[in-house]
Structures are given as structure tokens and as C-alpha cells.
């Protein structure tokens, strides 16, 4: 049984480490990275992960476009990002090395499966004939390159297993994980349990579990005995607030937030969706929660999905649909219908890089203007954006709360980065989460002239949510403009003008129900960095570094994009310069400028990747010093 005490190898203590596992998309890198994450979570580190995989499920083996990667940043300090520079990389094949080498810090550890660096594989990923990076002196000098014949060692360690070559080969990732566990002094028990559960218990393949565990142990022992590493590394547990913690990704948190909102509102959620990356795992998650009364429907297309959600809301369920940018575009007309009908509706949009099919598995923040204006005519809706994986939980509840309170569609702008990335999360006490109060009128609420479906609450301007099955309140709603009270079709010009203004005013009033914008640091000064949505982690980390470098800078992060918190203008005007980093060409900048006539300085990088902290630090510092 391996232990944390190595006999000979000295150990260094580090605050933080960034590891990237990479290989072919069939090499099991996501599973390997996930296991390292689980183990580090239980070990007590703070962490942030970044799975980065191709859209193709099994791209041609050994090619650069088939490379799948999983990055984890784990630390004894509080961290907010998966890290810019990789300290240690495991490359299972030449393509993985070729694609990822650029991100490894000079002096960083690179562990490669040297058996895969064959002539054929080298040429598959486009290395020139006769070139082998493992023989490149420049690489050998620049990095701490550790060549391990993983395929052969895995095979040898499983020689007596009686299993076929295919099964044996598939254990190479566990061999690699074993090495890394040894190198970073991690216990392997968690992964052993996982493998037993996954293969032996769930799939009924105890022999597969056994060889995976053997390979894992063999890798661990290899680290211990091969003496190829001059040192082991220890990253002590982080100091965290006491409580129960779990690991959570953004899409998982969205699922949990929606279920919690449904329970708090005592209302079923009907979630209708068409599969689309990176939003699909939301419907996957919800479809397992029927015991909570969650109905899921896999619709025939994006438009059907939103319309089915609208039908459900009309009937008294909370209609929710989920998609990514291209699907949001398809839902545009129906969003107009929902806001015309003034029914609750939550539209989850997990943004991805585009336009068109774009980079479906990569992240971007470029649907903000689509969320704001991607509908015909005057059609404001509430727009929210969670700022981190765990924040998806809170903001999903907020989306439901505001949607039913104001009887209006809410667009919830997550993104591929926080949707798939994971972090530790202090599990909330669900009983402390406030109830969501919903009332449906009955015949007794109808006035002298009968029921008025468009009579408004004087405070929120929302209309009553009368649902079918209520005797005496039979009424028709429709996409045609309607009379301000009765809801009957009205072509009256003044009525239309009033209705357009009422619908806009209703959304403006949402500002009364949302928190103020908080400024981190001094509330006035020279420079404020304003972000929104999923970039919170990178911006926060960058701000910490800029301050550590001796600069004075404040920051604020918007989770409510429409309407903005009511103090937004005041907060921004308290600074001479407002810097807005976004993963688009300046969409929030455009909104801020047009609404407040405040000049902004954009930091706009659109690479399908989350911001690198060092880039932000550099660019923010440039503006401060200019």
C-alpha cells in the first residue's frame, strides 16, 4: 500500500500547482483529470478545473485536432482560476505534447508516454520527418522532460491479468495518474474506490476494475522506485471556512439551482431542450430528477423547446428551456411571444464561441447583445449572468424568482468555461433559502367587469398569472397587441405605445428587486475594472496581482445585466477610468457607453479560451500607467 512517506525522495512544499493531462480524445483524459480533482478536493485543496476537449467524439487517432486536455489548479490558498501556466504536464501522445507544450512554464515538468512517440505517430501530428521532440535538445534544456514507457510498463504490470490487449491498453491513463499521485503526494484510495464503483459495481466488470487499480498502483510504485524525479511536491490543504463542501461544475449548479427554485416555489419545472453543446448536461442532469417533479422533454428543435416551455408556463408550471448561442438565435421569435404574453420563462444560454457552429466546445461571452437585443421590436427581457461554477446555483434561483415575480422571460447567460469547469463549493443549507411566493388568481379576484388578464400589480407592473382549470377566469392570450386591461386584441395606436412603454418599464423596475453593484476596493479613485459573468475568477485573480504589484485599482462584477443594478452609474462615475475586460469585442462597453455616456477602456480577447491572468494583469497595468 503506497503511503505519503517517500523513503528517499525529498519533498518540497508549494502553494499552488497547475497540472494538465492531455492525450487523444479516447485516452480518458477527462476521467483522469476528474479523478485528480476529486482526490485533491477530498485532500482539502482549493481548486479550479478547465476541461478542454474537441467537438469530435473520436477524432482520427493521434492528430492534433483530436487532443483532449484537462487542467487543474490546486492550492493551499484561495484561487479563482484554473491557472495560466502549466507547472506539470502529462502527455499521452506526441499530438498532446505538440498542442500543449506552449503553455508549460520554462522548467516545468513534462511526463510523456515515450512508447507513443513512434515514427508513425510523430508524422500523424505533423512533425517533420526525422524530428522527435523527445530528442530535441532545446526542449530537454528548457523543461524537465521525463520520458516514461507507459504503454510497455502498463502492459508488463498487467501481464498476468489474462485480459486482452485492448483492455490493458486502456489502463495507461491510470498508470499515468499513479505517477502524478506519487509526485504530488496524493492518496490513491479515492480513485481505487471510484474504479471499483464504476467498473465492478455499475458495469459488472470486476476484472476491468482490477486491472485499472493495478495500473494505478504500478504507476505510483514507478514514481517511488524509478528515481526519475528529483523531488516530490506537497500542496497542503487550503484554509477554508468550516462546513460541508462538494465539487461543482456550472451546469451541475444550474441543475441544482433550478430544482431548488422549483421546490421553493412549490411548482414543477418543465424543462424542454434540444441537445446542444455545452448546454446538454443541464437536461441530462434534470432528467434524473423526476422524483422532484421535474419534467424534461427533448424537443424536436430549439423553437419547439422554447414554445413547449411557454405552453407549460401558460398552464402553471415554470417553463424553462436551455441552449447555447445558435439555439438562442432560433428562439428569438418565441422569446418575443413570451414577453408579449407576459408569462414566466427561463432561458438558459450556455454561451460558446461562434457565430454559426463556431467552436462549439470553446467558451465566449459574445451573446450579451443577442440576449439584450436579439429579438424583433421593443422587447426587453431580464438578463442575468452567473460569475462562477457555484454561482450558477444562486443565479438559477434568481432567474426563476424574477421570472415569476415579474411575469417575464429571463435569459441566464452562463458560458462553456464555467459550465464545465469545477470548483469546491460550500454546500448551502437549503432551508435557509427563501421561498418563492406565487399566487394564481381565482374567480373571486375578477372585478366587476370580469377578469382582466392584463391588469397590473402597481409595484412590479406584472400581470396576474391565471391558469387553465380556474373556473370563471377563461381568457385568451395571444401574440397580437392587446388592450392594456382586458388583453383583447387592440390595434389602437395609443394603446400600443402605452403597452410598449409598460413592458419596458416593467423590466426597469426589476432593479428594485436585485442587489446593488458592489465595488471591491476603494469606492472611488482612478481605475475601476468592471467585468460580467464567467470572467469573475480571472479578473479577481488579476486584480489581486495588480494590487500586489503596488497599484491601486478597484473592481466590480455584474451578474445582473438587464436591468443594471440601480447604483451602477454612480459606482462607475466615481472612477476616472473604467476598464471592461470581456471575451467579445466590447459588448458590455457598448451597453455602458450608450446607457450612461461613460467612456470605457475595453480589454477584448476572443480566442475561445478563458482570460489568462497574466494577460489581464499586463493590460490593466498598461491602462493604469498610461
Amino acid at each position: 500500500m503506497p503511503t505519503d512517506q517517500s523513503i528517499d525522495t525529498p519533498s518540497q512544499t508549494l502553494d499552488s500547482v497547475v497540472i494538465r493531462f492531455c492525450g487523444d480524445s479516447g485516452d480518458g483524459m477527462q476521467l483522469t483529470g476528474g479523478q485528480f480533482t476529486d482526490t485533491s478536493a477530498l485532500f482539502g485543496n482549493d481548486f479550479a478545473t478547465f476541461p478542454d476537449f474537441p467537438a469530435e467524439i473520436r477524432a482520427p487517432k493521434g492528430t492534433t485536432f483530436g487532443v483532449s486536455g484537462f487542467q487543474i489548479h490546486f492550492s493551499s490558498e484561495s484561487i479563482f482560476t484554473p491557472g495560466d501556466r502549466v507547472n506539470a504536464m502529462v502527455a499521452m501522445n506526441p499530438a498532446g505534447l505538440k498542442v500543449n507544450l506552449v503553455d508549460v512554464e520554462p522548467g516545468g515538468i513534462i511526463i510523456v508516454n515515450e512508447d507513443e512517440f513512434t515514427k508513425g505517430n510523430l508524422s500523424k501530428c505533423g512533425y517533420l520527418d526525422g524530428y522527435n521532440p523527445l530528442e530535441d535538445e532545446e526542449i530537454a534544456n528548457k523543461y524537465n522532460l521525463v520520458k516514461v514507457p507507459m504503454s510497455r510498463l502498463t502492459k508488463e504490470s498487467l501481464a498476468d491479468s489474462g485480459m486482452g490487449a485492448k483492455d490493458v491498453n486502456r489502463c495507461r491513463n491510470m498508470f499515468a495518474l499513479g505517477i502524478v499521485y506519487w509526485l504530488y503526494e496524493r492518496p490513491i484510495d479515492q480513485t481505487k474506490e471510484y474504479l471499483t464503483k464504476k467498473f465492478a459495481e455499475k458495469k459488472g466488470l470486476p476484472e476491468v476494475a482490477k486491472i485499472n487499480i493495478q495500473a494505478l498502483q504500478a504507476g505510483y510504485y514507478f514514481g517511488e522506485t524509478a528515481e526519475v524525479f528529483p523531488s516530490r511536491y506537497r500542496v497542503p490543504p487550503a484554509k477554508q471556512e468550516a462546513g460541508v463542501y462538494r465539487q461543482i461544475s456550472g451546469n451541475e449548479a444550474t441543475v441544482l439551482g433550478l430544482v431548488t427554485a422549483s421546490q421553493k416555489a412549490s411548482k414543477p419545472i418543465l424543462y424542454a431542450s434540444y441537445p446542444i453543446t455545452p448546454a446538454s448536461s443541464v437536461i441530462h442532469g434534470l432528467s434524473h430528477l423526476k422524483r422532484f417533479g421535474i419534467k424534461t422533454i427533448q424537443s424536436e428543435d430549439e423553437i419547439a423547446a422554447i414554445c413547449t416551455a411557454i405552453g407549460a408556463s401558460f398552464t402553471g408550471d415554470i417553463g424553462v428551456t436551455g441552449t447555447s448561442g445558435p439555439g438562442l438565435a432560433l428562439k428569438g421569435e418565441a422569446m418575443g411571444l413570451a414577453l408579449m404574453l407576459e408569462l414566466p420563462l427561463v432561458i438558459v444560454n450556455v454561451q460558446r464561441a461562434g457565430p454559426a457552429t463556431g467552436l462549439p466546445t470553446k467558451t465566449e461571452q459574445a451573446d450579451l447583445l443577442q440576449a439584450m437585443y436579439g429579438r424583433h421590436c421593443e422587447s426587453p427581457v431580464i438578463v442575468l449572468a452567473p460569475r462562477s461554477p457555484s454561482d450558477c446555483f444562486n443565479m438559477a434561483i434568481e432567474a426563476v424568482r424574477l421570472s415569476v415575480k415579474y411575469m417575464t422571460p429571463v435569459i441566464y447567460l452562463s458560458d462553456g468555461y464555467i459550465a464545465n469547469g469545477a470548483e469546491p463549493w460550500k454546500v448551502p443549507d437549503v432551508s435557509s433559502i427563501p421561498e418563492i411566493h406565487i399566487t394564481h388568481p381565482t374567480a373571486a379576484d375578477a372585478g366587476e367587469n370580469g377578469f382582466m388578464p392584463y391588469a397590473r400589480d402597481p409595484e412590479t407592473l406584472s400581470r396576474p398569472w391565471a391558469i387553465p382549470g380556474t373556473p370563471g377566469l377563461e381568457h385568451r392570450v395571444g401574440s397580437l397587441e392587446k388592450d392594456a386591461e382586458s388583453g383583447n386584441v387592440s390595434y389602437d395606436p395609443d394603446n400600443h405605445d402605452m403597452m410598449v412603454r409598460l413592458r419596458a418599464e416593467k423590466i426597469e423596475r426589476v432593479a428594485q428587486s436585485i442587489p446593488l453593484l458592489e465595488v471591491d476596493g476603494d469606492s472611488s479613485g482612478d481605475v475601476l475594472v468592471l467585468g460580467w459573468g464567467g470572467t469573475y475568477g480571472s479578473i479577481t485573480t488579476a486584480i489581486q496581482q495588480v494590487r500586489a504589484n503596488g497599484h491601486k485599482v478597484s473592481s466590480a462584477h455584474l451578474q445582473y445585466l438587464n436591468p443594471f443594478p440601480s447604483n451602477t452609474e454612480e459606482a462607475l462615475r466615481s472612477f476616472k477610468k473604467v476598464i471592461i475586460p470581456e471575451i467579445n469585442l466590447g459588448q458590455l462597453s457598448m451597453l455602458i457607453r450608450s446607457k450612461y455616456l461613460i467612456e470605457t477602456v475595453g480589454i477584448n480577447i476572443v480566442k475561445g479560451q478563458p482570460f489568462k491572468v497574466e494577460t489581464l494583469v499586463e493590460r490593466i497595468t498598461e491602462v493604469i500607467e498610461s
Partner: protein, 344 residues
């Protein structure tokens, strides 16, 4: 799953007037939609369903104004999407009688996808397709059911589209109730609509409807006394396929192919004719391919199979099974997950 309480003794005695709103009907005088509206208002009181438990949903087009004129819960949605909305209504509360009324452009062109998939899933919705073979509200363009060569504002040289066959589409999707009627045949409309509403599963009713402004007389061959007995055939479950002014013609199989025969001639008797069996999808398939003038066009309930479980039933069955397995689902346990850890 709950079902409609058809034996509710508290059910008020309704008349068609109870299902009439105060809104002025805005269809053109003489429009076939009036007949369909009258048939629906007449049928609703006898359905054994409380007024507040009906939901009418429509898309866009002349026919789609329908919900405004029926005093139940209703939604006039957007172009082509009525069935997707109706699916949401039915799945949110399967107790409601959900009915979609729309036209050929709405249900077969822009909304064709939803028509296919609603029928495929067998969502318990009654669909009334008011087919006038033209776009009325947008002023006379050819529709997906218009005949090839149709002269219209967008096809001044004649449409080069081949028309879609609504009944064949219904058959292809495995629709569990397929019927066809004429707008002017009030008696048949009443029977078919009531059966369709009572049917458990998707009921697809095609109505030959006259647009007297943009496509007047498109169905005259089937709707006029002089020709209808030769151009249409009323099918009745368990009865042979007989038509003609004097019931002198019938349809039999000849080497697997239907053929029109004269009864009593060349040794042909009623016993040789095809007997309509509404449970038989093969016959429905045949009806879908019968068009005038080669054949009379079949009218009535072409197919009805109430045995196939509906989508909404299966949805609730799965919900109920999941709830039965864990009668007190624990939200805190769900949020905490299986792999939590404690920091002290």
C-alpha cells in the same frame, strides 16, 4: 395519471353560447372557418369536460384566430408553433382537453416539423387542420397543399412545388387518429370532432375548407352535391367501401391494388369490396394515396387506434414511478451530493 372526469355530476349543462366569446369574428363573409367554429362550439358542450379545462392553441393565419372566438382558455401563438406550445400545455397538466386549430401553411409549412413530431409522440392533442390550399392572411400565395401550377402572387407562372399529402404525413408518423371532413358537412364535422376530442392520443383532422377570397372553389369537386358522390367516399368502420349517387360503386383489391368497381356488374358483389377497419394502418395508408379523379377521396375516420399509450401518459408514468421510489425526495441530500467532505 389523472383523466378527464367525464362523469362529473357537477358538470354544468353547457350550450354553444357558453363557448362563444364577446369578440367579433373577423373572418371574411362566407369563409369555411365559420363552419368549423360552429361545429366546435356545438361539440364542446357534449364533451363532458368543464369549460375551464379546455385549452385552444393556434399558430398564425386566418384559421389561427380561432381561440379568440371560443370562450375557454386559449393562446394565439406564433407562426407554426401551436403544437409545440400545446405539447407544453398537455405535459404541464394532462387533465386538460387541448385542441389546436390552424391552417395548412401553419401546420404543414412553417410548423411542419412540430406536426410530424407531435403525431409521432402521440401527445394527447386534437389537431384541426383547416386546409384551404392557400395562404389567406398574407393575401393569396400558394401553400404547401396547393396544386402544382397554381397561379399566385409568388408564382405568376404557376407554382413549381409539388403539394404535400397531409394524410400521408399522418400515416408516416404513426398518428393514432386520422380523419378527414368537409367544412360544409356539419354532421360529419360534429361526429369526427367529438371522436377526435375523446380520442386518447393525437387526433389529426383534415378539413377541406373553402377560402372564398383567394382560392374559392378549390374543393368544389368534393363539396358540391353534383360531384361529391363520385369524388368522395364516406368510410365507416366495419362497412364496405361504397360510393356514388346510388351507392352503385365500390372499391376492391385487385392484385393488392385498390380499384373502383361497379357493384352488380361483371359478377362484382358487395362481398368483394374492401371493408373499412379503422384500426388497420395499411388501409389508412391506402386512403392517403387515394385522390380524385382516379379514386374518390376518403372522408370520415380513416384510422383510430386508442391502444397506443400517449406521450403525456408515459411522461407521468415515469414521474410517478420516480416519486414512488422516493416519496420524500431530500433536496438537501441532492444539493450536498454523494462526494462531499467536511472542513472543520
Amino acid at each position: 395519471m389523472s383523466t378527464i372526469e367525464t362523469t362529473d355530476t357537477n358538470l354544468p349543462v353547457y350550450t354553444p353560447k357558453d363557448f362563444t366569446t364577446d369578440q367579433d369574428v373577423r373572418w371574411c363573409p362566407g369563409c369555411g372557418d365559420y363552419a368549423a367554429l360552429a361545429a366546435v362550439r356545438k361539440a364542446l358542450p357534449g364533451m363532458g369536460t368543464k369549460k375551464e379545462n379546455f385549452v385552444f392553441v393556434s399558430g398564425i393565419g386566418c384559421a389561427a384566430r380561432f381561440p379568440y372566438y371560443v370562450d375557454t382558455y386559449g393562446m394565439h401563438s406564433i407562426h407554426g408553433r401551436a403544437l409545440a406550445v400545446a405539447t407544453g400545455v398537455k405535459c404541464a397538466n394532462p387533465e386538460f382537453q387541448v385542441c389546436v386549430v390552424s391552417g395548412d401553411g401553419d401546420l404543414l409549412s412553417i410548423g411542419g416539423n412540430h406536426t410530424i413530431h407531435t403525431m409521432r409522440r402521440n401527445v394527447d392533442i386534437t389537431i384541426m387542420l383547416l386546409n384551404n390550399k392557400i395562404y389567406g392572411l398574407t393575401k393569396g400565395q400558394y401553400s404547401p397543399t396547393s396544386e402544382t401550377g397554381k397561379i399566385s402572387p409568388t408564382s405568376p407562372a404557376g407554382s413549381i412545388d409539388y403539394p404535400i399529402n397531409p394524410i400521408a404525413i399522418a400515416v408516416a408518423t404513426g398518428c393514432t387518429f386520422i380523419a378527414r371532413s368537409l367544412d360544409v358537412d356539419m354532421k360529419a364535422m360534429d361526429t369526427i370532432y367529438k371522436r377526435g376530442m375523446a380520442h386518447k392520443g393525437t387526433a389529426f383532422i383534415e378539413v377541406y375548407q373553402d377560402c372564398n377570397i383567394f382560392n374559392h372553389k378549390a374543393w368544389f369537386y368534393a363539396s358540391q352535391k353534383e360531384t361529391m358522390s363520385d369524388s368522395t367516399i364516406k368510410v365507416e368502420h366495419g362497412k364496405p367501401l361504397i360510393f356514388g349517387a346510388d351507392s352503385e360503386k365500390g372499391i376492391r383489391f385487385n392484385n393488392g391494388h385498390p380499384e373502383v368497381v361497379a357493384i352488380g356488374k361483371n359478377g362484382v358483389s358487395e362481398a368483394d369490396l374492401i371493408v373499412h377497419d379503422e384500426t388497420d394502418m395499411f388501409l389508412a395508408n391506402m386512403y392517403a394515396q387515394m385522390s380524385y379523379p382516379e379514386f374518390p377521396e376518403p372522408m370520415g375516420i380513416l384510422h383510430a387506434d386508442p391502444t397506443k399509450p400517449t406521450y403525456n401518459e408515459l411522461l407521468y408514468q415515469q414521474l410517478d414511478e420516480a416519486k414512488a421510489k422516493s416519496d420524500q425526495p431530500d433536496l438537501q441530500a441532492l444539493v450536498t451530493g454523494n462526494e462531499s467532505w467536511v472542513v472543520r
